[in-house]
């Protein structure tokens, strides 16, 4: 006889979760959650971006970091980023349940109880920061702690539900990993990782607003004041274009400042111009299907753009064209 069918149902504080299936989630039912469910709480795709950009910052930093320590730093940076993702999922479980993109996450599905997620996330956050501090250095650990706090509290709790500029300011959390990677390798902060920070920081608004244009109905239903919900599609497209004009020169900065080679400069110039072109195409697109198509194109290209810039920076350092050594 299964205990799941015989025990009295408990009520979750999350009304949306109560409305859906709550498999294995009441107090008397042993969990059905697998390691894969816990891993999904860490937002693996976000983690992969964090690891990639942190690796670039680490490799670009002056000096040499032992590969074991480098791997260790990346591991705990990834775990810290995952912890902030899990904290975000815990806090936004009721919102996630209302949006198709996020409704299948473990809490709204009732696979893992929200309290378990909170404990899991806090443990990982503290563990990753302490381990990074003990095994690598205190500066990188402090930066990781600040990033987790910024994403989980400043962005998720404060900015996201209160202002359409949420993603502009909150983008700082996603932009910090190269600085953490640099700090892990060198124990310092310099202008070079701050330029990398700037690239991701300016890239974030057009990237997320392109997605928000596609999901504005869901954001409105969930009560999240994303720019398309508050200011409308037209204003969002105008601001996407403005940020794209800003992003193109910022993307070229590493070459202009002499931190990267002419190869990087050429890639940044061409892809930056393409970014602006995609943004202008979205700006001028007719309402309806044309806007959806243009927003999808921009969203897809924005991912490729960031990947290409950081991949070239990473490759240049790997083949010996290190930052500051091959200029103009």
């Amino acid at each position: 006889m299964s205990t799941r069918t015989d025990t009295a149902p408990l009520h979750s504080p999350l009304s949306a979760a109560d409305a859906g299936a709550r498999v294995g989630s009441d107090a008397f039912t042993p969990s059905l959650a697998t390691p894969r469910d816990y891993f999904s709480l860490l937002k693996p795709r976000l983690m992969s971006l964090v690891v990639f950009t942190a690796l670039t910052g680490m490799v670009a930093a002056p000096g040499h970091i032992n590969p074991v320590l480098g791997f260790t730093a990346l591991l705990f940076i990834a775990i810290g980023a995952g912890a902030s993702g899990a904290l975000n999922m815990w806090y936004e479980a009721d919102i996630d349940a209302k949006m198709s993109r996020t409704a299948k996450r473990p809490i709204p599905q009732g696979i893992i109880r929200s309290g378990e997620v909170l404990g899991f996330a806090i443990f990982l956050a503290v563990f990753s920061v302490v381990a990074l501090g003990l095994l690598v250095n205190v500066l990188s650990a402090a930066l990781l702690a600040f990033t987790i706090f910024f994403y989980a509290v400043i962005y998720s709790v404060w900015l996201k539900p209160s202002t359409p500029q949420n993603i502009v300011i909150g983008g700082a959390a996603g932009a910090l990993p190269p600085v953490i990677g640099w700090a892990a390798a060198s124990g310092t902060i310099a202008l070079e990782p701050i330029v990398m920070f700037l690239i991701i920081f300016v890239w974030t608004p057009p990237h997320f607003w392109a997605l928000a244009l596609l999901r504005s109905d869901e954001y409105a239903r969930a009560g999240i004041p994303m720019l398309p919900v508050v200011a409308g599609d037209s204003e969002t497209r105008r601001q996407i274009a403005l940020y794209s004009w800003l992003l193109a020169p910022v993307g070229v900065l590493p070459w202009i400042l002499g931190y990267a080679s002419v190869v990087y400069g050429a890639v940044a110039l061409v892809t930056g111009a393409m970014f602006v072109m995609y943004a202008l195409r979205l700006r001028k697109a007719a309402e309806g299907k044309a806007t959806v198509k243009a927003a999808k194109s921009l969203f897809g290209f924005s991912i490729l753009y960031l990947f290409l810039l950081f991949a070239v920076l990473l490759a240049e350092k790997s083949v010996g064209w290190s930052f500051g050594q091959l200029v103009w």
Partner: protein, 58 residues
């Protein structure tokens, strides 16, 4: 019915379904692997850092 279930629990404890057993086993194995990896990682990092592992200037 709840009384009956509670009575049964007193006698047998909570009886896991095969699915619940499988999930618990997977979680246990994953935890064991992670703990093992962390032990090895901390050991190797200690070797790599050498005596400097105790040198922690703020």
């Amino acid at each position: 019915m709840v009384t009956a279930v509670n009575d049964q629990r007193d006698e047998e404890g909570i009886v896991l379904t095969p699915e619940q057993k499988r999930a618990r086993r997977q979680r246990s194995v994953a935890l064991a692997i992670l703990l093992g990896v962390l032990v090895v990682l901390f050991y190797v990092v200690t070797l790599v850092k050498g005596p400097g592992v105790l040198n922690r200037p703020l």
